[in-house]
Amino acid sequence: MNVIIDNFDLFFQGFLKTLGIGLICMVGSLILGTIIAAFRVSPVAPLRAVGTLYVNLIRNCPLTVVLFLIAFGLPTIGINQSYYFFGCSALIIYTASFVCEALRSGINAIPAGQAEAARAIGLGFTQNLRHVILPQAFRTAIPPTGSVIIAMFKNSAVLGVFGVSGDLLGNAIILTGSRGFDPVPVYLGIGFFFLMITIPAGLVLGYLERKAVILR
């Protein structure tokens, strides 16, 4: 276990980097997921088709495949960025498809009369989404969206394996590889730091869930 104490710096920096990646990707995938969900419930058929296609393609692909396609595909069309950029983009694009579906379940759970009443006072589609449908859908969708976000924090481990340096997994590979430490204590430490992210995230989620209950 000395490996954790002796290399605490490396673990802690990895923790911060993984947390940072997670937070950026959380914001990104919530925004992108909301946009795709709006597409999926839009009255405009082509937008609905784009939303459905996006979800069905991305959600059914392994994250690693999305990651490799982006990292190797984008440079061939002239987009050269860091692995960090590609990794976060892939995680956002992948997670957004799940966020979209969680939100859509929230939208479907809203009684039809809510949107109808909004239309009846003259709100347009986007106003209706923004002021009536989404605020309610977000609250109803907190539990499933939260699970998606927690899964995303864990999925971010793939980025380190893939070559983004400095996150928890990237540092674990350095410790067990070139520095020759025993993998078991190293990965116990990595696991511990992941729990330090995901367990508080779960607590925040439970708090939001209780706070956002809509009385009907």
Partner: protein, 268 residues
């Protein structure tokens, strides 16, 4: 439809011919309106004119198309053939123009449909702020006056689920009024209420009627129809079967269908 129809010397609707809008300016006109749900022909060649300031009660058996009729007037339901005009202009099909039309046609639902995540005050100000583009302060001032008028101003900071059904429905009426609509559609506004709350809602509606609001009310509340309606429209199987002045309709309906229907709802 205008002055020619009115007998000389009558400045208002003649008592034996109230089935016509008479001297009123037509506000809503439905001409040869047809609508299907798949194979079901829900509105069959409906012709109906609602004059400005007129209160029309729509009555008829379940499934006869009353709600559908109501909902075509603000285009919550589209129609297959025929035309509907508001203030002489055909209802716009979509987009901004349709949203504007809807803001001019208020609607009160059986199940209230107050926005569950917004306070009572926010429920009433949302439309004025987002659609009529009022400043929040002005919208709130108007909203509070309306909530006072329907008797629920003290509840303004609560959420809909914290109010009784009767209070919620009165808020829904205030929400509709806040758009300053030309006509308000009521689809069975009291059917979801506990009996002791029916009257508080009907009283608000009666006072609106007295103040000259144009109203289309789907209801089986005969007391309201007699007290407040200018005309009763009886529907069956998607058709308007009979139109008459309320007292005449309830005491002596001319169609067999209406007699049969009334005998069923009057037997208690």
């Amino acid at each position: 439809m205008t002055a020619e129809n009115v007998a000389p010397g009558t400045d208002s609707v003649a008592s034996n011919d109230v089935a016509k809008p008479g001297a009123r300016t037509p506000l809503v006109t439905m001409t040869s309106v047809n609508k299907h749900y798949g194979a079901l022909h829900v509105l069959r060649d409906v012709n109906l004119t609602i004059g400005a300031g007129e209160v029309v009660v729509v009555i008829g058996p379940s499934g006869s198309g009353k709600s559908t009729l109501c909902r075509t007037i603000n285009r919550l339901e589209t129609i297959d053939t025929g035309t509907i005009t508001l203030d002489g202009k055909p209802l716009p099909a979509e987009g901004k123009a349709l949203a504007n039309l809807r803001s001019e046609v208020g609607m009160v639902f059986q199940s209230f449909n107050l926005f569950a995540h917004k306070t009572i005050l926010e429920n009433v100000t949302l439309g004025p702020i987002k659609v009529r583009k009022l400043k929040r302060e002005a919208a709130e001032k108007e909203a509070i006056a309306l909530l006072e008028r329907v008797g629920v101003a003290t509840q303004k900071d609560k959420y809909p689920a914290q109010l009784s059904g009767g209070q919620q429905q009165r808020v829904a009426i205030a929400r509709a009024l806040a758009m300053k609509p030309k006509v308000i559609l009521f689809d069975e506004p009291t059917s979801a209420l506990d009996p002791e709350m029916v009257n508080e809602v009907l009283e608000v509606m009666t006072s609106l009627a007295k103040e000259g609001m144009t109203m289309v009310v789907v209801t089986h509340e005969m007391g309201f129809a007699r007290k407040a309606a200018d005309r009763v429209v009886f529907m069956a199987d998607g058709q308007i079967v009979e139109e008459a002045e309320p007292n005449a309709f309830f005491t002596n309906p001319s169609s067999e269908r209406a007699r049969d229907f009334l005998s069923k709802i009057l037997v208690h």
